[in-house]
């Protein structure tokens, strides 16, 4: 496929920081964002830890200079903050100067407000404040971001559960490679909701303590919230703008496990295929990969399956890897975007970030992740994995210029 796609801007908000600088500081100092739930009114408030952005909706709106928050869901606000930062980081001041698109992603859209509406609506369909349901649709947050940034040329939204924003980055890259757009703001956003807390709790895959990805004692994930966006540009567009790209999006792969709606196949077939496709597209060898930012949710099923897929892909010679979900929690539809930004930071800063809370390798795998911050490391090629319900598996490869 012709054309190259470069990353010229990054933006992020999560439990470990409201922007790129704060996020990097937390990653370097080993500060996890997982803690007590203070924002979602659930009966599990004191039992299930979460990784929440430590600002209420009014405070988030304040960052954007918005006074009236009625039309802005938390998912929208998080997305707007991260996408705006990415655009500004790329040095883009005139959005209509080149053909620009926005591909966002979310798993639950405005559910945070819909569930408030539903409590009143459930027993009486004439009840419930409509302002709390009107922004339910996934496309709502994308249009809010597009309107804030002035994006007109192409907008769309992806929802493939937890791989959503890896897929939005992939679609963004494809639009550039096909010559339809010059640059794309791509990523995703999701806020914590009662719906997802109860959903994952019903599946019994929420850890009551801080999650321990790739650890033998792992017992589930911690839900998080946030948004992560990257600015993708064609070679020509990046050269014109003069902003030195952080890296190139050299490969991507999307494969379906086609095994079960929520469980991954034990051998991680879909995960293997997604990584293999990305590697094949990048024309790199598996030995070229310097770091893998794994999906690593901390559930029994994911980590075993992903580990098996990695053992197969890397022929048992596993490169340094870590899950950064013990920092950010699992931000669901935003995680691919959040981890894309973290992968770019690894390249930009020559750092490998630790897999917090790890002590014992998984018996079947004997894989040991990076457990402390590694500085001054040559990080040229990073593989980032995002796997979702439905066996929707996606991998991205970021390469230093």
């Amino acid at each position: 496929m012709p054309g190259r796609v470069f990353i010229t801007g990054i933006g992020i908000i999560s439990s470990i920081g409201d922007n790129v600088d704060e996020t990097l500081f937390s990653l370097i100092t080993g500060k996890s964002g997982i803690g007590k739930n203070t924002l979602i009114d659930t009966v599990y408030k004191n039992m299930i830890p979460v990784a929440e952005v430590h600002k209420d909706d009014h405070e988030l709106a304040g960052i954007l200079g918005i006074n009236d928050i009625r039309d802005f869901t938390r998912t929208s606000l998080l997305g707007m903050i991260a996408a705006k930062e990415a655009l500004s980081d790329a040095g883009i001041t005139d959005i209509n100067h080149a053909r620009t698109g926005l591909i966002s992603a979310t798993s639950v859209g405005g559910m945070h407000r819909s569930e408030l509406f539903y409590k009143d609506f459930l027993n009486d369909h004439s009840k419930g404040r409509l302002i709390n349901i009107i922004h339910h649709e996934c496309g709502d947050s994308t249009e809010k971001i597009a309107d804030l940034l002035g994006v007109k040329d192409f907008i769309s939204t992806v929802s493939t559960a937890c791989s959503s924003s890896a897929n939005s980055i992939m679609t963004g890259a494809r639009l550039i490679k096909n010559g339809k757009l010059d640059r794309v703001i791509a990523g995703g956003t999701d806020s914590l909701t009662l719906f997802t807390i109860n959903g994952f709790n019903s599946l019994m895959i929420l850890d009551k303590n801080k999650c321990r990805p790739f650890d033998d004692t792992r017992s589930g994930l911690n839900l998080g919230e946030g948004a992560g966006f990257v600015v993708l540009e064609s070679e020509e567009s990046a050269m014109k703008s003069g902003k030195k790209p952080y890296c190139e999006l050299k490969g991507y792969g999307n494969a379906c496990d086609a095994y079960h709606q929520t469980a991954s196949s034990p051998e991680g077939n879909g995960a293997y295929l997604a990584m293999k496709k990305a590697l094949d597209m990048s024309l790199l060898k598996e030995t070229d990969i310097d770091y893998v930012n794994v999906h690593g949710t901390g559930t029994q099923n994911n980590d075993l399956s992903e580990g098996n897929a990695m053992l197969r892909l890397f022929n048992r010679k596993i490169p340094p890897f870590s899950s950064t979900k013990a920092f950010t929690g699992h931000t669901l539809g935003a995680s691919g975007g959040v981890e894309a930004v973290i992968s770019v930071l690894a390249i930009r800063e020559s750092l490998l970030f630790p897999n917090l809370h790890f002590t014992t390798p998984i018996k079947e795998l004997e894989m040991v992740p990076v457990t402390s911050l590694k500085k001054n490391v040559s990080v040229n090629h990073v593989l980032s994995n995002s796997f979702g319900f439905g066996g929707n598996n996606s991998s991205l490869i970021f390469s230093k210029n």
Binding site: G139, V151, F154, S156, T157, S159, N198, G199, G390
Partner: protein
């Protein structure tokens, strides 16, 4: 590269799976919304799925299977769906349980099935298809995004053929909410004559239509899918017209070459005005509409694409879709123009093979 529609499966409120609609049998609804006619699901999906899955998943999986059978393709190179609202029934059921049971003792099934990508994933499981699997969820751009991704992948040789579909389900809960929001009228009575009563609100509908898009023509080919374009919040009708002219000229066509425009008029006086203005230059084209047959929903363009592909294949326009008189003979190019609540405008260009 040319892209061909080589198979279709369309489940809709009309008799779209057995040719009934094209032989002139029109289903008329008088309740709240236009509801899909269920096929005999056990012909297409396993009994466990027919029992457990939400309606949209069943409709989608059955439409996908019908489409693949129609095309003769067993394993598509990718599965790409578009859905504005996703699995509403399962989402509502999980919300209901969660609230009624005070978050205790919840069964995970409805949560598992509530994610927007469930149907695409379930089709992959049915086919054991490990290929690219994707779901777009952007209001009136959902299905169009799925088509654009498909076209790009076939163009670039990433896949030779792709199963692409648009699907949305209506539920009593969502109907009640949308009606309160003014999107729909409180009853679909009179849907068949969209023009008779101009008022605000449209008629609620639903549907699932899948298409096998292929890089090569086969005996089962319906037509060529030339282009899909989306236009977000155009400032006026001139911007839409400009986009149409640009699209046509990119395919060496002029307005006069469009033999039929199938438009998304939905009976809502707040939003229908733009169709007349945008389509005014199409003086020589036949004008047709479709939402009186399927109702209004985010992915109704998938029904329009089914209808258009059938028209090109059969070389015949059913009289009940025409707005003006059918006085021309040629039937080569069809343009579908639709918009969702004035924000999401889309164009689909088709050509006879």
């Amino acid at each position: 590269m040319s892209i061909y529609i080589n198979g279709i499966g369309c489940i809709s409120p009309q008799l779209s799976t057995d040719g009934g609609l094209f032989s002139g049998v029109i289903k008329v609804y008088e309740d709240e919304f236009l509801k899909c006619i269920d096929p005999d699901y056990k012909l297409y999906i396993p009994p466990t799925m027919a029992r457990r899955a939400g309606r949209i998943i069943k409709m989608g999986a059955a439409a996908a299977k019908i489409c693949l059978q129609d095309s003769g393709i067993g394993m598509p190179g990718a599965i790409i769906t578009g859905t504005g609202m996703g699995c509403i029934e399962d989402t509502e059921n999980f919300l209901t349980e969660m609230i009624r049971n005070d978050e205790k003792m919840l069964a995970p099934t409805t949560f598992i099935q509530s994610t927007h990508n469930t149907t695409a994933a379930q089709i992959a499981i049915l086919l054991s298809c490990n290929n690219y699997n994707m779901t777009y969820v952007h209001r009136g751009f959902s299905f169009e995004s799925a088509l654009i991704d498909s076209i790009m992948q076939i163009d670039q040789g990433e896949a030779e053929n792709i199963l692409a579909g648009g699907l949305d389900e209506m539920t009593p809960g969502m109907f009640a909410i949308s009606t309160r929001l003014g999107v729909y009228r409180s009853s679909c009575k009179g849907h068949i004559s969209l023009f008779s009563e101009k008022t605000s609100g449209s008629f609620a509908g639903e549907g699932a239509a899948f298409f096998l898009l292929d890089h090569q023509q086969t005996p089962s080919t319906y037509c060529r899918l030339e282009a899909v374009e989306m236009l977000y919040k155009p400032k006026d009708e001139q911007e839409v017209t400009g986009k149409i002219i640009k699209l046509l000229s990119a395919h060496s066509l002029q307005i006069e070459d469009i033999d039929l425009v199938l438009c998304g008029i939905n009976g809502d006086e707040r939003f229908d005005g733009i169709y007349g203005k945008v389509l005014a230059p199409f003086e020589k084209s036949r004008l047709a509409y479709y939402k009186h047959l399927c109702g209004e929903y985010h992915t109704s363009a998938a029904f329009a694409l089914w209808l258009s592909a059938m028209i090109l294949k059969n070389n015949r326009i059913p009289p009940f879709v025409l707005i003006n008189e059918d006085n021309s003979l040629a039937l080569e190019n069809i343009l579908i123009y639709n918009h969702y609540l004035g924000s999401n405008h889309s164009l689909i260009l088709l050509r006879k093979c």
